[in-house]
């Protein structure tokens, strides 16, 4: 019995900021390279205006022989910047990918760690939200580490260059920066505020559309399309009005982001032009000042963009850290001792090792709760004297297998689905076919284009309900657990197949402990011991035949009340 280690949760950052920092620390080298390239490139942007100013001065002096050299230098500088730019983009793309995929990996790993706890807390929606959106939002925000750093540096370089041309101009630029930031900052906050109801409404609308898509079958069969179409239209129009409001603010912010630097550079140009007219500035320097002021727009724009990305990423990262902070419900550490009676204290059920037991009850929910307790998902049962819920889940799951009809089928080849936690090569195809045979699923193999090698879609979508149930059962028998607890394993198959399955299952499980819940006579007559459960308590135990004879309520249950309300002409037949 292989022990599957539930990998212990690694200490991961708790807050959104530290989570982002952690993502950076996972790829320090790459982030550093991105920062260097981003900075070099942004700073390098001042090179062309600098070269241009020198070239214009040369032209103004009438130097014919150097014109082409300057032209070549402009092209070469452009070439270097081009190289830096793509290198930076390649690096930053990898940084973003790493952050996004690492987040998804961690979330997947934690989902796996949480196991049944996640199912109980019904938090699956969050995982979907993280995988489809949040992870990428977080990845995008790491852009701030590269070009973001460069933006600040470029600012400094431009200030220094201006200082060499004119102190007055440099002071204007240095003072202008904080003013720009102060004006743009509050506007960004406003954008977040306006955007929130919009995004919420958008989420609601998407949810509604998903709901309608899932219910299209119902709407097609029974009507109601007009009502739903109208409802979505109303909400869509509502979203449109909110969108207009967001657009009003967004357009102002973007105009500010682009327009303020332009206005600012206009002021700088005016000042420079006056200095040039006074003769304290050359024509080339005037052009340079204009160029520098224009280049300034790049770092300002990227700072604004980074701020928006970051504010969104913090929300996303909070969702991720909250999810990663979820802890398993049962933290039992006791090792199961193995053999011994399995006793459910709530119902009074006792299963002795090596028997094929059956539980018959009128209520599905009672059977499911019973199996949940025996499997240690809920307290109330003991195994060889130990409370099952307090046992270490890793070894426990290897020995006690709960097979319920809600169990999911994951995408993969049929052989892989059946082989479960083992590799197909490890267990051998023969074992897989054997398990499928036990579950009377040979026809599933035959019906698929490539036999056991055929791909099963996620959720077994390309199988029928009955096929899915048999594949699940095959998977459970292939795992060959010491204790198999199966909830109504034949509920979706026809009577003939049911008879075949129970027959083979009983043979397959000989010598091991098995419990099935069912109300089908075909299943119950195979069991060594049948327990009749009424209102969640065992009221009678015996064989199918003895219970049929002794307990009228049992007969009523398995023949579905036929003795009490069957039609008279049927009486003769039974």
């Amino acid at each position: 019995m292989g022990h599957r280690a539930v990998s212990p949760p690694r200490p991961l950052p708790r807050g959104p900021w530290s989570y982002l920092a952690w993502l950076v620390s996972r790829q320090r080298g790459r982030v550093a390279l991105g920062a260097v390239l981003g900075s070099t490139w942004t700073v390098g942007l001042v090179l062309p205006p600098y070269l241009l100013s020198r070239a214009v001065d040369g032209l103004a002096d009438g130097q014919r022989d150097v014109v082409l050299w300057w032209a070549a230098a402009l092209v070469a500088a452009g070439g270097v910047l081009t190289g830096l730019s793509i290198w930076r983009h390649r690096t930053m793309t990898r940084v973003r990918m790493d952050a996004a995929f690492r987040t998804m990996s961690e979330v997947n790993a934690h989902t796996v760690r949480l196991g049944a706890t996640l199912a109980r807390r019904a938090r699956t929606g969050e995982v979907v939200a993280i995988a489809s959106g949040d992870a990428w939002t977080i990845g995008r925000s790491l852009t701030a580490t590269g070009p973001g750093v460069g933006a600040v540096l470029a600012y400094v370089v431009i200030a220094v260059l201006l200082l060499r041309i004119s102190v007055l101009l440099a002071v204007v630029v240095l003072a202008g920066v904080p003013i720009l930031a102060l004006v743009v900052g509050p506007a960004l906050g406003r954008l977040q505020k306006v955007g929130t109801p919009y995004r919420e409404q958008q989420g609601r609308l998407t949810g509604r559309i998903v709901d309608v898509v899932a219910g299209l079958g119902v709407l097609n069969g029974l009507g109601g399309k007009v009502i739903y179409a109208d409802r979505i239209r109303t909400e869509s129009q509502h979203l449109l009005q909110q969108g207009y409001r967001v657009g009003r603010v967004t357009s102002v912010i973007q105009a500010v982001g682009l327009g303020l630097p332009t206005l600012f550079s206009a002021v700088v140009v005016w000042l420079a032009a006056r200095l040039a007219a006074e003769g304290s500035l050359s024509v080339g320097e005037l052009v340079a000042v204009y160029g520098y002021a224009a280049v300034l727009a790049v770092p300002v724009a990227s700072v604004i963009e980074n701020a928006v990305d970051l504010s969104q990423a913090l929300v996303a990262a909070r969702r991720v850290t909250d999810f990663l902070a979820l802890r398993r419900d049962n933290t039992g550490a006791a090792a199961p001792s193995g053999e011994g009676d399995l006793i459910d204290e709530v119902s009074g059920l006792r299963i002795t090792p090596g028997t094929f037991a059956a539980v018959a009850t009128a209520r599905h929910s009672d059977a499911a709760a019973l199996v949940d307790r025996l499997g240690g998902f809920q307290p109330g049962a003991t195994w060889a004297g130990q409370p099952v819920a307090d046992l270490d889940p890793a070894p426990l799951r290897g020995q006690v297998l709960v097979a319920d009809n809600d169990a999911d089928l994951f995408a993969g080849s049929l052989a892989q689905v059946v082989a479960g936690r083992h590799e197909v090569d490890q267990v051998g195809e023969a074992a897989v076919l054997d398990a499928l045979h036990t579950a009377a699923a040979d026809d599933v193999v035959r019906g698929l284009p490539e036999g056991v090698g055929s791909r099963i879609d996620s959720g077994g979508r390309n199988l029928s309900g009955g096929q899915r149930q048999r594949v699940r059962l095959a998977r459970a028998t292939a795992a060959d657990p010491a204790v198999l607890l199966a909830v109504d394993p034949t509920s979706a198959v026809d009577a003939a197949t049911e008879a075949t399955i129970v027959d083979r299952l009983a043979r397959n499980r000989r010598g091991k402990t098995t419990l099935v819940t069912s109300t089908s006579a075909l299943v119950l007559q195979v069991a060594d011991e049948v327990h009749l459960l009424v209102d969640g308590r065992v009221v009678a135990t015996g064989t199918h035949t003895s219970l049929l004879a002794d307990r009228p309520e049992y007969a009523a249950l398995v023949h579905r009340g036929e003795r009490s309300d069957a039609r008279p002409d049927d009486e003769a037949q039974t």
Binding site: G221, Q237, G247, L263, A495
Partner: protein, 582 residues
């Protein structure tokens, strides 16, 4: 397999559809273009004025003259600010409106999809189109398109301005930029499929995570931790490869564009400089032309940033447009039958049905009297559910006919069909809406009393536990499988068709509850035709007639009492089940 059932629109269709969207709001679109042109034009005043200043300074103009030009530079910047904001706002409104129109169109299209298409495609593909694709397209319309329009207009206006300034320099600049259309063409040809692969790979990662989460309990029970981790990392590896492929494309595309603009700036300066030294143009003209070309990199960068998003959104748009005319098997030629059923008599004549190439139904014939209760039994995969769906008109036979009152059921309009035949399966959707709305879809004018009566008849005792009765929001208060089945059956009672096809419609109920529900159903719809696909023998026993199906054929057909006295497989099973050893 299901992916091929829904189309992806061809590029030509996509272009036509995009054009239709623009035309339907053309006045606004013209305003968008005009304001964007004005904003771009205002942006050009700056370099032109700098050129003038250069000329004035060279000519030794005084500070007063320069002040006038300086003031103009400031005014130009202010104009750019104000007009630019207007241009963006107009674009946003246009984009937002178009996104809303697209969204509403999408819902209409989903509603118009034939039932059999929905049935076959499954909800996964439809959902991803309705959410991921629709979201990307509206994002582009709202955020990317306005930027893109602004950038394209700006780039064009700049090129025109250089040509106006000096036709020769304009031509030199354009020649230097010639690599851009070439590389753009190269890129766009490859980008579409590469970004489609990337989107699919990303969706696969999300799918893996979603199924791990949905099946978290199963993962724990079966110890599939390692499998799921492997599945996650291999899907991530595939997505990484797909992203690196698109990055590779950009690694050719971006540098070519950047280098081209640098080349244009250099050559225009070189040629312009020589022309200036030959005194053919002023220094101001050279400076303005060079500054313009340098300004060109702004719109080009914007276009570069968005062109990939635009590409993927074009792919998404194609998937949305693909919803219009889903791949439908060609309808058989009209056979001259009446379009409206004349009675409630259902006849299945020589029906064949194939999922792929192999028939799963072979020459099935069945004649169902009005008011008859027919049970269809047989092993899994025998074609019971398929037959049920054909009778309910959800699907169309490959050959042969299924008629109600002489009319082909598959040809009936949904509104008409639901008055005659309704199919109930065990998979029933409950909308995230109040219980009342969930029921009234089948009977919009039903009173609360009628709704409660329908639930009461079915024995839906859980109703008493609902916090707000009929007003309980089932999106918050989720129903269990058995409860959902009650809702589904209550809808059918309210819809009141003369024929019901029940495909394991009570399978999720407790045995006793199922029994009670079936009896209630039978009592309430007495006089109606019921075709019940069942694997429970008790259900079969209660029916007027039983059809036993095996391998896509009806092998036995008759009354329970007649069948069990024979040596048929049904008789053998019945004996095993009832414990009758005689």
């Amino acid at each position: 397999m299901s992916a091929q059932l829904l189309r992806v629109a061809e590029p030509a269709e996509v272009r036509r559809a995009a054009w239709r969207l623009i035309l339907s709001d053309r006045a606004a679109f013209v305003v968008v273009l005009l304001t964007n042109c004005a904003a771009a034009g205002a942006g050009l005043l700056g370099p032109w004025l700098v050129g003038l200043i250069v000329n004035e300074v060279q000519a030794g103009a005084g500070v007063a003259a320069i002040d006038w030009l300086g003031l103009l530079v400031l005014l130009a910047a202010a104009a750019q600010f104000v007009i630019g904001r207007q241009a963006r706002y107009k674009s946003y409104r246009f984009g937002e409106r178009t996104a809303a129109r697209l969204r509403e169109q999408l819902v209409d299209r989903l509603m118009q999809l034939p039932a059999r298409t929905v049935e076959r495609v499954g909800t996964a593909d439809l959902t991803s189109r309705a959410t991921t694709d629709a979201a990307l397209v509206s994002f582009v319309l709202r955020d990317a398109a306005p930027e893109m329009v602004f950038a394209v207009v700006q780039a064009l206006v700049i090129v025109v301005a250089v040509i106006l300034l000096s036709p020769l320099l304009g031509v030199v600049g354009l020649v230097a930029l010639v690599a851009i259309p070439v590389v753009l063409r190269w890129y766009l040809r490859r980008a579409r499929s590469a970004y489609l692969v990337q989107a699919a790979a990303n969706a696969e990662v999300a799918e893996v995570l979603a199924s791990t989460a949905a099946g978290a309990r199963t993962v724990e029970i079966l110890g599939l931790q390692e499998q799921r981790t492997t599945a996650c990392s291999s899907s991530i590896a595939a997505a990484t490869a797909a992203q690196l492929r698109t990055l590779q494309l950009r690694s050719v595309f971006f540098p070519t564009i950047d280098a081209s603009t640098a080349l244009a700036v250099g050559t225009v300066f070189g040629v312009g400089g020589l022309l200036y030294l030959d005194q053919q143009i002023s220094l101001g003209t050279v400076v303005a032309a060079v500054l313009y070309l340098r300004q060109l990199s702004n719109p080009i960068d914007t276009i570069l940033i968005w062109v990939e998003t635009l590409q993927s959104s074009a792919a998404s748009f194609a998937r949305l447009e693909g919803l219009v005319s889903p791949a439908e098997p060609p309808r058989p030629a009209p056979t001259g039958v009446t379009a409206t059923p004349v009675d409630q008599h259902i006849v299945v004549t020589d029906v064949h049905y194939a999922y792929d190439d192999t028939d799963v139904l072979h020459a099935v014939n069945l004649n169902i009297r009005a008011g008859e209760q027919l049970a269809v039994v047989g092993p899994s995969g025998a074609g019971k559910s398929t037959l049920g769906r054909l009778i309910a008109g959800v699907d169309r036979p490959r050959a042969g006919r299924v008629t109600v009152g002489g009319a082909d059921v598959a040809d009936l309009a949904p509104e008409q069909l639901r008055e005659h035949v309704v199919l109930v399966t065990q998979e029933q959707h409950v909308f995230a809406d109040p219980l009342r709305d969930n029921l009234t879809i089948a009977a919009p004018h039903a009173t609360d009393e009628e709704l409660l009566a329908a639930l009461g008849v079915l024995g839906a005792d859980w109703f008493d536990d609902l916090p707000d009765g009929l007003d309980t929001d089932l999106g918050i208060h989720r129903l269990g499988g058995a409860q959902a089945q009650h809702v589904a059956l209550a809808r059918v009672l309210l819809a009141n068709p003369h024929t019901l096809v029940l495909d394991e419609a009570t399978a999720l109920l407790d045995p006793t509850a199922a029994r009670r529900t079936e009896q209630a159903l039978a009592a309430t719809i007495r006089g109606r035709t019921i075709i019940a696909v069942a694997h429970r023998l008790q259900t079969a026993r209660d029916a007027d007639r039983i059809a036993v199906m095996e391998d896509g054929r009806i092998t036995e057909l008759g009354r329970h009492n007649d069948l069990i006295t024979t040596t048929t497989s049904y008789a053998a099973l019945w004996r095993a089940w009832s414990g009758d050893t005689t």
